[in-house]
Amino acid sequence: MAETAYQPGMRTRRSALDWTVQPPYLHPPYRGTVLRAPKNSLILLPQSLSEWTGPLYGESAIRPLDNDLTRNATVNGEPLGERIIVTGRVLDDAGRPVPNALIEIWQANAAGRYRHHRDEHPSPLDPNFSGAGRVLTDQQGQYRFTSIRPGAYPWLNHDNAWRPPHIHFSVFGTQFISRLVTQMYFPGDPLLALDPIFNGVPDEKGRQRLVASYDHGVTQPVWALGYRFDVVLCGDRMTPFENRG
């Protein structure tokens, strides 16, 4: 994927991103990529202080109801739909938990509609659901939020195209290099095989990493179904601190 330019001090010629599972820019079945994919190869650089560093977050980044999308936009009641709990860990490339990772999430409501002026899907908005939340991982790298299972929705990519239900995840690790934006899908969904965005991931084991697993141990009786979704970021958060700090 990336071409290698000679650099003094270059330590390795291998990308920190695992391009066997990361999607390419150009994936014609996803039509939006055709005019937005860079055609030139990426230029591979060694990391510097600009990449070892990155924005850091703490408890001040989170307000009390940010991790409960069933209660953070209440107008006159509860949002409609199937209540879910999503939990998991954020890890670095070396398998170490990443504490204080900021996760921002956004999603459609149970009817498959986003609270966004460009969403023209003829499906109802829910006055008690904004579809936005934030959560910070704890010292073990764990996060947990409560939401509503999002609905599928149609899009214009191809004839009768439907996005499988998904939750958008935006994750900050501790370095510029560790930034990740992805989507979490639900297990057993027949729409996954038909979705060009999900199938933009070039490898089956990579695709499976985007599918949450149902976890009956997370499910709360008479309350909400539980799903587990771990996130592994690019980069090794310890290296710059040990070797460079």
Partner: protein
């Protein structure tokens, strides 16, 4: 690189969860250094503006310091500067940040010229693209290792912002061309 989670597009509706007022302003009244505006357009391979892109920037403060434990000079970092900013493009594909001009940043082998690290996300991009903004008329550009890694002068020039005359604040224009003849140079980083 075991078990890395693949990237997926931010899609067209990222504003719902990611865009909040004020994220494009990195300074307050106490911030040290020369305040600047950085603005530009994001364009696609047909030259059309991209109205649903999100840009994130990460830069050193006016002293060239990152407020992060990996920077040994962290104690001297400007507490009134946010090194991180985020902006969505408008219907014309335009974005703007208010920040300070960063200082030079240590490199493996000498100094890196003042630069702003920039990441582009958009509908139609399954994974972000990373580039850097450099400033025109910086003598440090001549010895910057990243600029030197782009041997073609035409391509290298896509990393240089241009000064916009006649504005109240020093203003730099930096267009990002995702594809085509004037395609911006994008980077990948080694382990």
């Amino acid at each position: 690189m075991s078990n890395q989670t693949p990237s997926q597009t931010v899609g067209p509706f990222f504003h719902v969860g990611l865009i909040h007022a004020g994220q494009e302003i990195l300074v307050n009244e106490h911030t040290r250094g020369q305040r600047i505006l950085v603005r530009g357009r994001v364009l696609d391979g047909a030259g059309a503006p991209v109205p649903d892109a999100m840009l994130e920037i990460w830069q050193a403060d006016a002293g060239g310091i990152y407020n992060h434990p990996a920077d040994p000079r962290r104690a001297q970092a400007d507490p009134d500067f946010s090194s991180f900013g985020r902006a969505a493009t408008d219907p014309n594909g335009e974005y703007q940040f208010k920040t300070v001009k960063p200082g030079t940043v240590p490199g493996d082998d000498g100094q890196q010229a003042p630069h702003i690290n920039l990441r582009v996300f958009a509908r139609g991009m399954l994974i972000h693209a990373i580039t850097r903004l450099y400033f025109p008329d910086e003598t440090a550009n001549d010895t910057d290792p990243v600029l030197a890694a782009v041997p073609d002068p035409g391509r290298r020039s896509t990393l240089l912002a241009s000064a916009v005359p006649g504005e109240d604040l020093p203003t730099y224009q930096f267009d990002i061309v995702l594809q085509g003849e004037k395609e911006t140079v994008f980077f990948d980083f080694s382990e």
